[in-house]
Symmetry: D2
Subunit: 338 residues, 4 copies
Amino acid sequence: MLVVMNAQATPEQIQAVEARIRELGYEPHPIPGPSRTAVGITGNAGTEGRDSLRLMPGVEDVIRVTVPYKLVSRETKQEPTVIDVNGVRIGEGGVTMIAGPCSVENEEMILETAHFLRDVGVRLMRGGAYKPRTSPYAFQGLGIEGLRLLAKAREETGVGIVTEVLDVETVDVVADMADVLQVGTRNMQNYSLLRRLSRIRKPILLKRGMAATLDEWLMAAEYLAAGGNRNVILCERGVRTFADHTRNTLDLSVIPVVKHISHLPVIADPSHGTGKADFVPAMSKAAVAAGADGLIIEVHPQPARAMSDGAQSLNFDAFRQMSDELQPIASAVNRRIN
Amino acid sequence: MLVVMNAQATPEQIQAVEARIRELGYEPHPIPGPSRTAVGITGNAGTEGRDSLRLMPGVEDVIRVTVPYKLVSRETKQEPTVIDVNGVRIGEGGVTMIAGPCSVENEEMILETAHFLRDVGVRLMRGGAYKPRTSPYAFQGLGIEGLRLLAKAREETGVGIVTEVLDVETVDVVADMADVLQVGTRNMQNYSLLRRLSRIRKPILLKRGMAATLDEWLMAAEYLAAGGNRNVILCERGVRTFADHTRNTLDLSVIPVVKHISHLPVIADPSHGTGKADFVPAMSKAAVAAGADGLIIEVHPQPARAMSDGAQSLNFDAFRQMSDELQPIASAVNRRIN
Amino acid sequence: MLVVMNAQATPEQIQAVEARIRELGYEPHPIPGPSRTAVGITGNAGTEGRDSLRLMPGVEDVIRVTVPYKLVSRETKQEPTVIDVNGVRIGEGGVTMIAGPCSVENEEMILETAHFLRDVGVRLMRGGAYKPRTSPYAFQGLGIEGLRLLAKAREETGVGIVTEVLDVETVDVVADMADVLQVGTRNMQNYSLLRRLSRIRKPILLKRGMAATLDEWLMAAEYLAAGGNRNVILCERGVRTFADHTRNTLDLSVIPVVKHISHLPVIADPSHGTGKADFVPAMSKAAVAAGADGLIIEVHPQPARAMSDGAQSLNFDAFRQMSDELQPIASAVNRRIN
Amino acid sequence: MLVVMNAQATPEQIQAVEARIRELGYEPHPIPGPSRTAVGITGNAGTEGRDSLRLMPGVEDVIRVTVPYKLVSRETKQEPTVIDVNGVRIGEGGVTMIAGPCSVENEEMILETAHFLRDVGVRLMRGGAYKPRTSPYAFQGLGIEGLRLLAKAREETGVGIVTEVLDVETVDVVADMADVLQVGTRNMQNYSLLRRLSRIRKPILLKRGMAATLDEWLMAAEYLAAGGNRNVILCERGVRTFADHTRNTLDLSVIPVVKHISHLPVIADPSHGTGKADFVPAMSKAAVAAGADGLIIEVHPQPARAMSDGAQSLNFDAFRQMSDELQPIASAVNRRIN
């Protein structure tokens, strides 16, 4: 940390800051300048004592220098983390495709989708049994019956299952069935849920909060890692901005930046990122070109009949065409779609 | 809803949209114009079928006309909701002051604060026993011991207790002790928690999500109301924007707008809204002038020693001075601080 | 500035950074820490050389410590700047009311408004002769004829005139007539215009850019001051965020923060800040309570007939009522409306 | 437009709205519903009268249905606009590369860059002679001397020149030299400048305002087209959000959406979009994969010595490597880099 004194700070105020830093167990390094003095601090981890310094007389600001995450940082572990899901290796240099409907609606549609995905080479299926919905009056998912249908789809087709877990109560039942547990954007800072999930062994797909900075997102991943579960897949799904031509603003720049500062795999969700099926293929290609380790795409046999998120779901034909178009993009960045 | 056709839409496409609207059980009202046709829809509640229409050929957009919330709307209930907490009536035309530390740290500080508050006439104390922290390595609150200390403070001083509930598991224990249960900004769309809280009788202080639109916030309140708990106090605590001179951007304009469209009381949290103690008094006055039904303020016996949020906490002297300055503001808008 | 090395930086890389700092003419202050080294820099003003350091091997980040503005900073000049406009002293502890229509539409309406304002004690009138409009097909203002009508209104009633200047070409003609020249939100970073305005003597009302940080806003004011015109009135008019219940998000917290770091007066524009006449009185009161040195309010004889911004304009009755309600708020913060 | 009445609106209020619509010269289409009535309006272009309706008793909201731009809309002109610059055809299906330094600093560096670009096949060079800088104390560009150096570089190498025009005064001198005139993000809504540029024949590169919605951006292009200059190239350069891991948030989703609703070419600026050279290649690839008609990239012989924007400039080696990597991406979307 660095304590910046204001231009009028007295020598006594600067000495008091130095004394307080020593009291906190750290080392002060005064840096006198022409218009003001700054005091560097070494020996500290995190931001403990930051507030106590900021409130001292003569202090203008306290600036954090070190990053707040440890286990998920590339400074701690240089080699990329690879996560194995039913033999699909996420983060090993391929582009992992995850696809499926927003919600599991009934047996017929989920089986039809699973068969379709297997036929086009997709090995991981998404599908919500428990749905977080803005309205209490909207369809909330089939719950345990949805999980049963997903298990049946896996049994019939061999696709691995990615499904959302909404709360601590259902962690066990979801973890029992799913191959990957998804934490949604609204739960990224649900620390009770993260702590509970840190104690299971299944991989976690951690969506970025819709207003989360990169640091906050990585801190959420740090909760999982600190509790013992380092199998975390990050997922950019669009952030909230003033822009209104898409449902969210898909922030693809976060992909190369995550790669730079963390060893965790990162995928993109262009379906939620745009909210409109027409624009999903272009943004899928962009995400792969930006270096994403995978994509999660909403696909539905009949989007116009979907019980949720129909507007952003591809139908089978559109998905097949997009898959074909993604292959050369993946090749162009020396990756294979898996 | 209103379906807007694009300029090239054919008569057949328009007829198909009308047919689909009838199939959904609603009534279509075509409105032909010089450059394009729109089709009004009546008889619908909510947005069911919206996606199915948006995906039809020739459709440019589908616009929602009616508001999505019902029970919390002023169109449903004209008179303001008044919530009684230990005899303090929130939303009845006064300005209710809630104050206290970010976290309960130990018995001494919480008792000292409770006594101070009682002495200056504040009848509701805030204080966190369970804390949502960005870092897994930061102080997470005293938990059940914190609740016990809050109960002791109430017993000694008579102040009512407002404290945060983080998850479904602790709802019972928190509800057992607290007078008002606070739902934090990160949990505003934690629907499992909201549903659980909708079944208790204690009032809920529902903070606005840091990136929540007004509609989304009211829909979160609707979850509580729809489940049976209409004792909801809304709390504006700042939203996330590009502005970096404060910790969050306190959106006071939401106060008169909430008053206009909802019957629920709404208070402001200038401590989180600004993140800096220096600016809390000015924004507290502004909130009262804007028509807030109350304030929730962080106060600490020694902010520089606080285990969390010290930089935004007032010390006792500053709080007392601010309280004095708030009185004439409250009078100016024909309210009394209670 | 502070150069933060990454955890893997070698001693040679650190030495190279120190050498480069000396080459730039500054003094390096290495601060070795347990996980990484930082190098403080003294003797620098501004951010020259920042990029050259950031690009060196082993450098993680370069952090600016000093503020970039000088003349408008309270560190440079402690006493508040007071601006005299036709005898109205802005920034001297009063609340200066500026009111009037969005656009000058015709002689009748502008004279009617000027007489009304004089009668209710408002001494400065706003009114646009040159209008920045989002659409090229919308009414663009009466131009020079509008200025003539404003001059006539001043002659008849004695109100001072605040009007917008859009470009360098019209600076002379606007400056010749106006008492205060307004720079709109879209022109806050129109540096050619700012430089030209820095060379006139009339006061400038500088609106905050709709996505401007506080630093950027003060830097725009610094352009004016650096060129010789220190008569700058800052005006918060709402910023652009995701929130959609108001036209912009009025960021009142900027008022006490500006007061803290600058000596310039700052006023608020609740008309553009909310975009809806219904919410202007509440936010006007809030702005005064927050410490604003004034308000700029849209008033129109017949808002429903206004050629621009009718939805956010108060009619005369509403304005008169609001003025009455503002008096006790101003008193409560020890100010008088002038 | 659609007028939404509130639930308590009386029949008289609805009739008054219908009467007002007829008075405005339009046709009302009442749509009675179970909870409220809406009134569709046909025959209107733009939003004239919108405010007058919104302010009527019983009116809840007025919703715009038609888009506000005409000439730049794909509904008006289906085939894409192709812009020829020195034989480089922008928008015809290729990926046009524009590269060069932020500022022209001296003859040596600009000639060196021009020769380099020609050698690697880039035919359009960017370079600023007039620079908009946040600080009045920062380097403001070489001005007319910079233009002269750019002309010399073109003469020696044949590269076309893209350079920024800051104000009306310098339009003639810049237009005289440049092949494409760039309007920067801070000037996107400088309507005086747009109107002046609409009367020249040279193509305009119109950067998106940093807080501009898509509609506002297209309306700025409409200013140019309405005045007579339809040679507009749109350029996404990142928008302002809360995210702090990049300088701006590059909103690539705007590319396919622009393609959908406008016939104008659209390019991307990953240098300003990210602010960090390390992330430019990944975002350049993403932009091409998303369907961009071109890229504008900052390149400098010695980024660490650049007088502006060094941190986001590629050196020659990095640019050459990125160009090589872009070829297969362009091929994958059936485009050629030109």
